[in-house]
Symmetry: C2
Subunit: 400 residues, 2 copies
């Protein structure tokens, strides 16, 4: 493969994660080893920055600051949710030509991979030599062809700890039900990880629902009531994208039947807590950590950070060696110890494809996950230590 000299552009698409900056730093550090990359630009706010020619010169940043950025959650370049129009691609190419951009590294999910692919195809069609490589990034873990996605492990760690802590609050001050809303859009990977909050039998969350398995309102109510009767409290983890048996956003029919307003549908956990309160006559509340789940500086999983950085480095190395139209993947090595290497996959196999949570990892009852998933996810997150509990030797009663 011949040596291709020119500028490289790196950009972030979609929601920030705890380690998207680690991938950025991987790109920056690998680029220093390759003189054919004559300049490294960061596009501000993703593809919008490209369209508006809004670049920053990453070669002019202090290397010490760069290291710090690699340990900071969120998107240091800024990101966007701009839906690229067909007519935008010509403009992207025009901007790339103007700055002699020959390398394009887009860090994002399956929609960003689609953008990357379309840019690469148009360039080829127009005879403009460009190497476009995608760097995987999504807390939802729904990219195809990779064992897991950078960003997922840290968010999974956040939610496992959140459910451990919220669950302890309910256990200690019982007589309540809470419904905790977990991110993940239409995929259950994140809500599934809340199972790691448990250390002893009956530990919260006692109920975990995944959008891959449709759920009826009556089933939810029966599950909650059974747990509450047994333990005196109940903690429910539910994915924001949960669907009911008709494939509608969960709760839509119940909201109608129970006279709830439409607005509640946009706030699933609250809607469900209201439903539980009304129908089961229990004290119910909801928690929605929301954006905190993907941006908390307190929850950056070490493996996640290292792998995100590795993906950034590998994207540059591959592109310099001639690779284009590919996304970097993470490949788990077989064996008892957790080891990961990178791989490559055609962009067209991941663009706009959503990888669902495997049905065989969902409990037949539809309200929990199975052990093979725990083995899959445990190495990806940080420690979820049990909260210390008193032994609690009872004092004999004297009155009775």
């Amino acid at each position: 493969m011949h040596k291709l000299s020119g500028t490289a552009v790196v950009a972030h698409g979609g929601g920030p994660t705890a380690v998207i900056n680690a991938s950025l730093v991987g790109v920056i550090e690998e680029r220093r080893r390759h003189s054919e990359i004559t300049a490294l630009y960061g596009a501000r706010h993703g593809i919008q920055g490209v369209l508006q020619e809004d670049f920053i010169d990453l070669d002019r940043e202090d290397p010490n600051l760069i290291e710090l950025i690699g340990r900071t959650p969120g998107s240091a370049l800024g990101s966007c949710r701009y839906k690229v129009k067909e007519t935008d691609y010509e403009r992207i190419l025009e901007v790339f030509r103007a700055h002699n951009v020959r390398y394009f590294f887009y860090t994002g999910g399956n929609d960003s991979m689609d953008t990357t692919l379309k840019v690469a195809r148009l360039a080829r069609e127009k005879g403009y030599e460009l190497r476009a490589v995608g760097i995987p990034k999504t807390i939802d873990n729904d990219l195809a062809e990779t064992d897991h996605c950078p960003g997922y492990g840290s968010a999974a760690w956040f939610y496992a700890c959140a459910l451990r802590d919220i669950g302890a609050d309910l256990r200690e001050l019982p007589g309540r039900v809470t419904v905790v809303e977990v991110m993940g859009r239409d995929a259950g990977w994140l809500v599934a990880a809340t199972a790691l909050a448990r250390h002893e039998p009956d530990d919260p969350p006692q109920l975990i629902y995944l959008p891959e398995r449709p759920l009826s309102g009556e089933k939810l109510l029966a599950d909650v009531e059974a747990v509450y009767r047994r333990l005196g409290y109940a903690v429910v983890a539910v994915c924001e994208g949960q669907r009911d048996e008709k494939g509608e956003p969960f709760g839509a029919d119940l909201i109608a039947a129970d006279g709830f307003a439409h607005e509640l549908a946009g706030n699933l956990a609250h809607a469900l807590s209201q439903l539980i309160a009304r129908r089961l006559k229990l004290r119910a509340r909801s928690e929605k950590p929301g954006l905190l789940g993907r941006t908390s500086a307190a929850f950056i999983s070490e493996h996640d950070r290292q792998e995100a950085r590795m993906c950034g480095r590998e994207a540059v190395r591959a592109a310099v060696e001639g690779v284009t139209d590919k996304m970097i993947t993470l490949v788990r090595e077989p064996g008892p110890e957790y080891r990961v290497r990178t791989g490559l996959v055609d962009l067209e196999r991941v663009a706009n494809v959503a990888r669902k949570f495997p049905l065989e990892w969902i409990h037949p009852q539809g309200n929990d996950v199975l052990p093979p998933f725990l083995d899959y996810v445990r190495p990806l997150i940080g420690p979820v230590e049990p909260r210390a509990r008193l032994r609690g030797e009872p004092v004999p009663k004297r009155l009775g």
Copy 2:
């Protein structure tokens, strides 16, 4: 003061905090130094445990586990929200007599202090010698007569970091408004602490509302619109107990006027985000970390933990020396360095009294706090480090 021999009971009332266990460990460690306390019992689930004679023997716990408990958030004894009835006090005294309980340490807020006082008074009336001392505890920081309350600093730290992190997500992926709901019931102490999230001018949260200052919906909308126009995004921190200009839970009138359902009133941040979306036609969402704010194992402020433990120790020491009908307070020493000692206050001065956030620390515009509050709160929390940001040297445009 004569030596009073007998059993001591320690109990937790109301919502758990990150450091209520540190106060428990303070009680346990000080009790070892006083042979007149012949046994130390923990009441399970607060005053309910006393009523049901449900005690655990704290002398039979492993000292290493006790140290670990002191660093674990939440209530290791279990807590309750039981509203004590007048007829319950006779039963409490009966249980105390049966176990020769001569020392009662109740860890809680102003309602728990009321219970403590009533138990002490009834015992005196009935000629039963009992020393009852309250240990302050509330994330809301609304206990009177103390500089601040154990539990507040850790929760304030959580929310300051949460707003820094959520705020960064909005800054990096702009074009959105978010409303973050902060605990605190009817007091603005916690929401005020989110001001510590800021490190540079215009940093989020740009708007902070306190329930001590009534707020109109139109004012909120005007504030949000102004911030959004200037920065392209806006982050609002609002206390769960915010009131409107009529003294009603905030949003009630707007909810009626705009056709929102009543259920939204129980979920303030979501209701406000819906209002902003409808009226300002902006993309708006809400976050409600909820219970996580008082129970997160990742946010135990070191000063808070030490002070909580000191309050536990001092309660035992004072009672052994003859004190009763008092609550331990924290007294800030004058001087440039942060130093705190304990004091004592009559229970009747704190029972059922709520200390509001001082109006003179609220910005005249009613949407922010003033620097003297920042000086007050800063030493109570842990570090809120700025998130690293790129210098961002722009690349000259070639197309324009």
